[in-house]
């Protein structure tokens, strides 16, 4: 069975335009003014703009406030367990090249309980887009320290201030082998849309860290990156390869060391694409192996292949 066989023939021509209304599902259960609303709105915008076949959109999540995302998008979706959404999404991506796999989650889900899966999804370069809404705190369980909480942050589990060195998501992702790593801010809708679009166009494991404020347990956490709150939204200037003198100082997104250096900038740091390279996806490599294995059997039927195996055991 070839997974591609599973895809129905060309979609019916009378397909209606995919409107925001058509992809909107339950009203979000997030607190009013939560940063995640803006992420959801940006995602709706991207879907509307790109007009993907409705049934081929899959939204997936683990556990956390932001991981409620699939309920708010009217698409096929799954709300999985804490930390394991990357392997779940990986299988869907590997088995079904016809689908657009979007994964949403938070910092606890992605960098703490799911940290190992994030590394391996990145190294295997599985084709999917993962938006991590990073609020520096556990919100659903009501204010415990998260893997990205800064040192000194007072939570219910660190009443005198967090003492553990926080994860640097961008460095972690680059080190693990992610082939598209970007950072954005939930108060910058246009930038978010740009990043999501570039991520979904990337053939590989694309991750966006999106600073998304928890209005309840860490208000003002990301004001330093928000010009409307007196902060600075420092964009990464990417190289245009135009041989101009200005280009000398711009960022080469294929330069791993330069990306590391950018990721080390003090908070609130830079926003934009840190790292983007082409490396064969596991999807492509496995497909190649499947095709070679099929060819070796002479494209025999399933019954013929198994029968041949049993003949060898007589």
């Amino acid at each position: 069975m070839n997974p591609v066989d599973a895809v129905p023939a060309t979609p019916p021509p009378e397909r209606e335009k995919l409107t925001k209304k058509a992809i909107t599902a339950d009203h979000p259960t997030w607190c009013p003014a939560c940063g995640d609303f803006a992420v959801l709105a940006s995602f709706y915008k991207v879907i509307e703009k790109r007009q993907l076949p409705h049934e081929n959109i899959v939204t997936l999540a683990g556990i956390g406030c932001s991981s409620r995302f699939p309920y708010f998008v009217n698409s096929h979706g799954a709300h999985f367990i804490h930390g394991r959404a990357v392997p779940l999404a990986s299988a869907i991506s590997l088995a079904r090249p016809d689908l657009h796999v979007f994964l949403f989650g938070g910092d606890g889900d992605g960098f703490s309980i799911g940290g190992n899966h994030l590394d391996h999804g990145a190294r295997k370069n599985i084709r999917l887009t993962y938006v991590i809404m990073d609020n520096f705190v556990y919100g659903l369980t009501k204010k415990q320290t998260s893997p990205t909480s800064p040192i000194g942050y007072r939570s219910k589990t660190d009443p005198t201030g967090a003492i553990d060195h926080p994860v640097n998501p961008i460095k972690k992702l680059i080190a693990a082998g992610a082939t598209f790593v970007a950072r954005t801010h939930a108060a910058q809708v246009n930038h978010m849309i740009q990043m999501i679009e570039r991520a979904m166009d990337h053939d590989g494991f694309s991750v966006i860290e999106c600073l998304s404020e928890c209005i309840e347990f860490y208000p003002g956490a990301f004001d330093a990156g928000n010009p409307r709150k007196g902060g600075e939204f420092k964009l990464i200037e990417e190289k245009k390869w135009d041989d101009s003198p200005e280009d000398e100082t711009r960022h080469d997104v294929t330069d791993e060391i330069a990306a590391y250096r950018l990721a080390d900038a003090p908070f609130p740091g830079y926003f934009g694409v840190f790292y983007e390279i082409d490396r064969p996806t596991k999807n492509a490599l496995e497909q190649k192996w499947i095709e070679a294995s099929r060819a070796k059997t002479g494209n025999a039927t399933d019954l013929e292949i198994l029968q041949k195996t049993f003949d060898r055991m007589k």
Binding site: N2, G77, F80, G83, P87, A91, I305, F310, K314
Partner: protein
Amino acid sequence: MSSSPVLPEPAPSLPTGRADLRPEHIRDAVIRLAGNSQDGIQTAGAFLARLAGRSAQDVMTYMTIPSTISGGPSIFQVRIGSGEVLSAGDEADFLVAFYQHSYENHVDFLREGGVLLYDSDQVQPNRDDKRFVYVGVPITGLTVEALGGTAKDKGKNIFVLGLLASIFHLNTEKLKGLIRERFGGKDESIVSTALMAFQAGYAYPVRNLLSTLYEFEPSPRTSDRAQVTMDGNQALAYGLIAGGVRYGAGYPITPWSSVMEILRSEFPKYGGLFVQAEDELAAVSLALGFSYSGSLAVTGSAGPGISLKAEAIGWASMAEIPLIVVNVQRGGPSTGLPTNVEQSDLYQAIFGGHGDSPRVVLAAATVEDCFYTALEAARIARKYSTPVFILSDSSLATRIEAFDEPNLAELMQEPKPDLTPRPTGFKPYPLEAITQHAPPGTRMLEGKYPVVTGLEHDEMGHPTASPRLHAGMTAKRRKKYQQLADELPVPKVHGDPEGEVLLVGWGSTYGPIYEAVNRARARGERVSALHLRHLHPLPRGLDSIFERFRRIVVVEMNDQGLYGHGQLATVLRAQFCDPKIESLTKTDGLTYRVREILEGTFQ
């Protein structure tokens, strides 16, 4: 299929036998090869098993592997029979000892009058012990002589195979064919070296040292199907393929690993994929992702790995996603006895979930049954959209049996994801019907797309904490297993349908239990056996079977527990509240001997 038995065949190249040899026709022989794991005794033993299978003899093997990283004492035991072979044998008729420690550790397993075949370059037996027939052959020296010094210790296994071929008058052409198949494709010199070693062993006048000429009786087998020879993990893997499973994920752990190794190479031939995951949690999550995407998938492990998968299996119960979970059991808990056998994960399989999360649990009884259990697991998982456990164990995983080739043309399943558009009114979680999901890529004509979820939900999959809905959905998830129980066949009693004692078993104890029943009945005991494949839910009608016996003895390889009963015995006592259900258990990490069951039951 060859209809000729292993024996007899003319062997003109043999040294002329002594005229005083007493011919003995044997129905059954237990041959134990004892050496070190790097000696290739498994390879030699497997040749014997394959030969027997090819010759329509019944065969069963048993092996121990040290859990050390490389080397260590190891045995491979082959039992070849002209009738039905149910167990690997309580005692050996032939012991082949490669080393002094092999002789010392295993000589007690040799029956009185049995033959000790030993490497006289390595072993000095106590010949004052008059119970055995001593046959010393300088195996090491003769192998080096035949192959040259560079062979070192390699090739002794094949030399011994040649000796055994001569003693048992085995079909040498078939054996040489098997050697060519096994070593072919590699360096051609490997095949010729192996054949040289075989020929050297075969030409050695070993029959001069024996007082009896051994010959197998022709097999009474009547089946018109060819026999296939394989181990339990192979049968399980190919059963999954026949059942239409094309996707899966796993993480290496003894004794499950060979299942995933087979599937990793086999699935792509069928257009599918098996992924080696970073850990057990990722493995089960990947498998669930494959199943969600529309193709039933498999994951597996041994007990410790299943513990790690437990949370995700709970999600499968709640979200109602089909999944096959294989547990090739070993001695536990924790790292326990990684290369020994135990049936101590039954509770884990049935009750190992959080919340009310019933699941289906099946257990395979023999190597052949591994194939059919996998096939049935796939069918149940799809029909009831549920996780299904397959319990195997390390003895089934590694032992080789010959069995009738399954009718693949009849059994082969090739389901594809069902992406037909779903009509208006589609509910992912209907209260009054069994869930059948619409995989992603399916058009929903009403325009409403389903989210599968681990949160309690309403019929559309929306999260809810409604008391009425949690009660209703919990009942919905339970009822499908009750419906499954209704359709399960009532298991058949082996022996008379009524009597004094009913031995009840599950999993790999099938063989020794049935052999114990056969032996006890032959001496007049009124004893029967009942073997369960379906452990959760239990089939209907067990109570009326139990009624017809005075004692019910449940035989298991696990501990008697705090209250004196093994794991299945406890489940049966809870279900039937019947105080006559007794328990016979053991925890030595070894398969049951027939004698242990008989003594445990009647003393």
